[in-house]
Amino acid sequence: MAEKMVVSEDEAYELLAHLVASAEICTFEPHYYGTFRLIDAASRLMDCMLRHGSNGSRAWLEAFKQEVDQKKVWMMWDREGYFQFLREATGKVAEALKQREGLAEPASTAR
């Protein structure tokens, strides 16, 4: 796996602040907001990755970030659609990870 650095120190500090602040406000916000903070943090991480990352997985990352940004806000007006998106999102990341590890099944055997 490529070991390219994709988050600068400044960006890491920003993410750190975001995660710590999220932990704080999760103590008084509705519980499902916690899921929103996490998926939003994932979007912010992808922002950094797109700024510094290699071209290899750029297209996938751009598309996934766009989907996350479009659907994360469903939490505010379409909660069932939002939860459904979350249930499907991890599978997409897992597929991308497999691709990076060279573990993707040939098309005929892929489920």
């Binding site: 500090y13 920003e14 602040a17 975001h18 710590v20 602040a21 999220s22 704080e24 406000i25 916000e29 907001y33 903070r37 939003d40 479009q70 659907k71 806000v73 469903w74 007006w77 379409d78 659609g81």
Partner: protein, 197 residues
Amino acid sequence: MATATPEQTTSQRAEVVLDVIRTRRVVRSFTDEPISDADLRTILEAGRWALSAGNRRINKFLVVQDPKRIRLVRAVSPGMLARPTALIVILTDTEKAAREQVQLDKDLNTWIDVGTAAQNMSLMAHALGLGSCPATSFSRSGVAAALALPPTMLPEFILQLGHPAPQQRVMRPGASTRLPIDALTFWERVGQPLPRR
């Protein structure tokens, strides 16, 4: 900006106001173009005219345009999804509140005043062709540190402002939309629906 003139009838003026209210949307994508001082002052003027419980006026507005400072506030404000070019932070002046004998830990009216000012400013931003987005999900201690607030000034609300960038709102088919007035309102007694027109 649409403003009422003496020639306008009451219904025309009402239509202008309702149109601004109805067409305002939360904007989460902004361009880099800064907001002019004149526009910021007009927005602040709208906030100044917001109703205030007992005319106590315990809130202050803090304008932030320094990109570094905005970035810092955003880092400790998970509710700030956008990258605005200006912020208006609504603060509670605890010294003024004490002089007015406001019990901040018990008096919910103080929150209503924050809301009325925020709504006025948000509507004015929209009327000026600008976008706005509220943020209430932020770390109080984090924002206080980022903005070097004195301990007597409590951050209550952050209005994110900027020139709107094109944004695409994707809706799932079948997703619920804004509630109709019938679903929000009772007539005379709780449980009694609006009369048919």
